[in-house]
Amino acid sequence: MIAPFYKFGYFNSEVGLIVAFVIGIFFGFFLERGGFGSGRLLAAQFYFYDMRVFKVMFTAIVTAAVGLYYLAWIGFLDLNLVYYGETYIYADALGGLILGMGFVIGGYCPGTSGVAISTGRIDAIFYALGGFLGIFVFGELYPSMQSFLNSGYLGKISIPQYFHLNYGFVILVVILIAIGGFTLVEWVEKKLAGKYEEVE
């Protein structure tokens, strides 16, 4: 196994910052190409008439998930060294719920607001300012919420580990759910075509 490169010490954290910047450029590029710079398009998926954002998001997740599985399977990548957030089940669920409400009220999420600002959306500046306030309020309340935030701790755990399933099997299920989901939203979009003013 030779990847992840950084974890095997092929370069230091200073070089890592340059990598971060370059990766960010590609990330931002594809976000904008997908229409994620547009608050109306992002919100449209919650009214079912333009499901572009949903399609992009789930295609990305499936692509990366399949890639991770494949690279680990051929022995190129050590999956144990790939970091993603540890699970705190209650905070993840409640935080997601609050963020989801903020998403449809504000029209963006943190990453997309960066793209929205750089492509000229003034409302996205207000969104980002709100974001700073929300984080500050969270920080100030942090000491009193600590016991809740740390409850339901499961560590870094994947769905196959949690349910004792084969990793490849779960990947297959995710692919099938995605294809089913895509077929469904294509159908719904056609049903609602022309009902609302199109977003450009």
Binding site: V19, Y83, D92, I105, Y127
Partner: protein
């Protein structure tokens, strides 16, 4: 089969629009999704971590608190996570650099496609002032929720989702429940 046809129909539309010299259509969502997925996969392979966004905003907040009141920042574990103990700048951070890249990458893409212009994005039935207020409130909820879940749509959703993380998928499900549940009440803003 419909899925297959949809993947390629947009390529034709793009050409028609380009000839008319209007801002070009967004790329096909499935192709963009694959592009985004490959970027995320490369991040895993090169860095052993995923993409993120809200962490960079937290760095700004924590650094500001630390500047205004170092004592308060030092006494709070949440802020302390973003302030290096060795006295290095908190902005020498992976996510801060990544988000700066995102801003630039979005600008490049939008400008090349003729989509970059200064305006307020909103539905036809809401005033600009109200849109600003909603954007601010939504942003605040997002900031709070993202910190509670220890990540946002990028950090928890995309990254955790691709890693098949239990927390990541719980988070994704909750985001969609929260957003679809709230959508009806703010529909005047968008449609």
């Amino acid at each position: 089969m419909t899925l297959f046809k949809n993947v390629f129909s947009h390529a034709y539309e793009d050409n028609v629009r380009a000839e008319k010299r209007t801002p070009r259509h967004y790329w096909n969502p499935y192709l963009v999704g694959m592009g985004l997925g490959v970027v995320l996969l490369l991040t895993f392979v090169i860095m052993g971590r995923g993409l993120g966004a809200s962490g960079a905003l937290s760095t700004v907040v924590a650094a500001t608190v630390n500047e205004v009141n170092p004592h308060a920042a030092d006494n709070n574990q949440f802020y302390r996570n973003y302030i290096p103990e060795n006295g290095e700048s908190p902005f020498k951070d992976w996510l801060v650099f990544e988000v700066l890249g995102v801003v630039l990458g979005g600008f490049i893409s939008g400008t090349v496609a003729g989509r970059t212009k200064i305006f307020v994005e909103k539905g036809p039935h809401i005033s600009t002032k109200k849109r600003f207020l909603f954007a601010f409130i939504g942003g605040a909820l997002m900031g709070f929720g993202a910190k509670m879940a220890r990540g946002c749509t990028s950090g928890q959703g995309l990254t955790g989702g691709a890693g098949l993380s239990v927390g990541g998928w719980t988070f994704l499900l909750a985001v969609f429940i929260g957003a679809y549940g709230m959508a009806y009440f703010v529909r005047r803003q968008w449609i």
